[in-house]
């Protein structure tokens, strides 16, 4: 036996041994770092809604009675049948279709920033709403219900990792957000209701877009034992924009 094979084995051993502390150090680092510092992907920036689905339910206000696709209870249908945009406006409820359970379907732009190391903030120009995603937070905070409710967030990191072969990359990850304590609002602009007991679970993830762009994909699951017979599940996509030059805040409107 020459010395060369021995050297190869030693190098292989060192490489293999070296991986373990590296992986462990990474895990320790992630555990100690703040949600902002340990973010596996970057959601910050300006995003514009790309309305390729449900166009006639989102870009215009659908007529009363047009509820295709929503698994409404009989009680919800009764409420929707009495929808009155003018009455909502008069009562100061013009933001009913801009609540957390519906806002990601409203055509508009998002501005995503870190409020602090543990809070991701989403501002919308349509309806000028603000959502706060609290990482490492309890499921709900004291206080009354609001349009955007209280959102608890956590990172979902890829389970797959190095050594998985050339066809696999570590890219990815997502945020899971659970929102409760929402004021009763509308899933669709024509009065399809959700109640204060509704719970919203969302998954935010990114995808490349042809030509070097990026897509934000938001999957939303609304559960409402009062007004929904089964979960209401929709997914929405946004394109990344270079800057905020097209940011155009508008107030909530019950009529439009």
């Amino acid at each position: 036996m020459t010395r060369q094979p021995v050297l190869i084995v030693v190098v292989a051993a060192l490489v293999a041994i070296g991986r373990l502390p590296q992986v462990q150090a990474q895990d320790r680092g992630n555990a100690a770092a703040t949600p902002r510092a340990s973010a596996p992907i970057d959601f910050t920036g300006y995003w514009v809604a790309f309305v390729t689905e449900d166009w006639r339910y989102r870009m215009v206000t659908p007529p009363k009675g047009d509820y295709d696709g929503v698994p409404m209870t009989a009680e919800a249908r009764q409420i929707a049948e009495s929808w009155d945009a003018a009455a909502d406006e008069a009562a100061g409820n013009q933001c009913r279709s801009y609540g957390a359970a519906a806002i990601m379907r409203v055509p508009g732009r998002l501005h995503i920033t870190w409020e602090d190391d543990r809070t991701l903030r989403i501002d919308t120009d349509a309806g000028t709403q603000t959502r706060l995603f609290h990482f490492d937070a309890p499921p709900a905070a004291p206080g009354g219900p609001t349009w955007q409710g209280f959102s608890s967030a956590q990172w979902e990191r890829p389970a797959r990792g190095r050594g998985a072969g050339p066809e696999t990359s570590m890219a990815g990850g997502s945020i899971k957000v659970v929102t409760r304590m929402m004021r009763a609002g509308y899933l669709r602009r024509n009065g399809v209701p959700y109640s204060e007991n509704a719970e919203l679970t969302e998954y935010f993830e990114l995808s490349p877009y042809p030509g070097g762009g990026q897509l934000l994909v938001v999957t939303a699951v609304v559960e409402d034992p009062r007004y929904l017979r089964q979960p209401f599940i929709v997914s929405s996509q946004f394109k990344k924009e270079a800057d905020g030059s097209r940011w155009d805040p508008t107030q909530c409107s019950a009529r439009w």
Binding site: V10, A159, G163, A171, V217, V234
Partner: protein, 288 residues
């Protein structure tokens, strides 16, 4: 010499232990997102857009696509040679059906050779090859299902489909060419599976078209196969003309505008109608 032998043994033992530890770590890190199962479609969002003969809302069509789409008559489906053209691979996210997904395993290494998404009544199954094989030559046979390869990006399975026959982007007429490609991303979050489809067509799309749809894991089995689309006589004799509408003669072009007061440019899939600015334009001059 003796000490060298001892040293060699120690190094080899250390190496073996290290390799075993490394393998265990890699295995743990590898994990596996299992997509297999029956995924029910809840259809809470409307993606098919086939309720009216002319509804291209939400589509970034170019002028050529729009012109060709408006020439389409659904009577073409009575022609034997055209009966199966309406259900390309894109229909995976557009149609109302659930997904049945399973994998084929390499028997020795245990690696996944392919994922299969079972057929529906008219859509062919999608086989996603995971074994690194290349896509065929651009001159190879194009089929309704096309040819699909896949790779994992983190926990997301990314599939790319090429070699699809020319057909429809939406089964009411907006066309797709045989140069169209489909990138599909499968992301599982517990019992929710989100499928993102990015459709590119240099011939008929002004920009990539993006659709997403979520499915819910179901204990009720989704059938893994459906009866294949089989052409049959539907009363139209062979020969003669192809049913169509001449330019400006499609009788349904204003039906959606009349029913929902949606401007024609949106009905016909003008790309600018897919962005919030267009909604503000409508607000300034409401259609109703």
């Amino acid at each position: 010499m003796g000490s060298n032998a001892v040293l060699r043994k120690m190094v080899i033992r250390a190496a073996l232990i290290a390799v075993l530890l490394g393998a265990a770590t890699a295995r743990a890190a590898l994990g596996q997102v299992d997509l297999a199962g029956s995924w029910a479609a809840r259809n809470n969002e409307i993606l098919a857009g086939d309720g009216l003969p002319v509804d291209y809302t939400g589509m970034p069509l170019n002028d050529e696509a729009r012109t060709k789409a408006l020439s389409y008559s659904e009577s073409q489906l009575s022609m034997i040679e055209r009966q199966c053209q309406g259900w390309p691979a894109f229909y995976l996210v557009q149609g109302p059906f659930g997904l049945r997904i399973w994998s084929e395993i390499e028997p020795v290494k245990g690696s996944v050779v392919s994922w299969t998404i079972g057929a529906w009544e008219d859509r062919a199954p999608m086989t996603i090859w995971m074994d690194g094989r290349p896509h065929p030559s651009e001159y190879a046979l194009h089929t309704r299902a096309g040819f699909t390869t896949g790779a994992w990006e983190g926990d997301t399975l990314v599939a790319r489909t090429t070699h699809m026959q020319a057909g429809f982007l939406r089964k009411t007429g907006p066309p797709s060419s045989d140069l169209a490609t489909l990138t599909t991303r499968f992301s599982r979050h517990g019992d929710i599976l989100t499928v993102l489809a990015i459709i590119e067509d240099p011939v008929y799309l002004a920009e990539p078209w993006v659709l997403s749809k979520s499915f819910q894991l179901s204990a009720m089995p989704v059938p893994p196969v459906g009866p294949p689309c089989m052409s049959t006589f539907e009363g139209r004799e062979a020969g003669g003309s192809v049913p169509h509408y001449l330019p400006e003669k499609n009788p349904f072009v204003d039906e959606m505008t009349r029913k929902y007061q949606i401007p024609r440019e949106a009905v016909l899939g003008e790309p600018q109608t897919l962005y919030p600015e267009y909604r503000k334009k409508l607000k300034a001059a409401p259609p109703r």
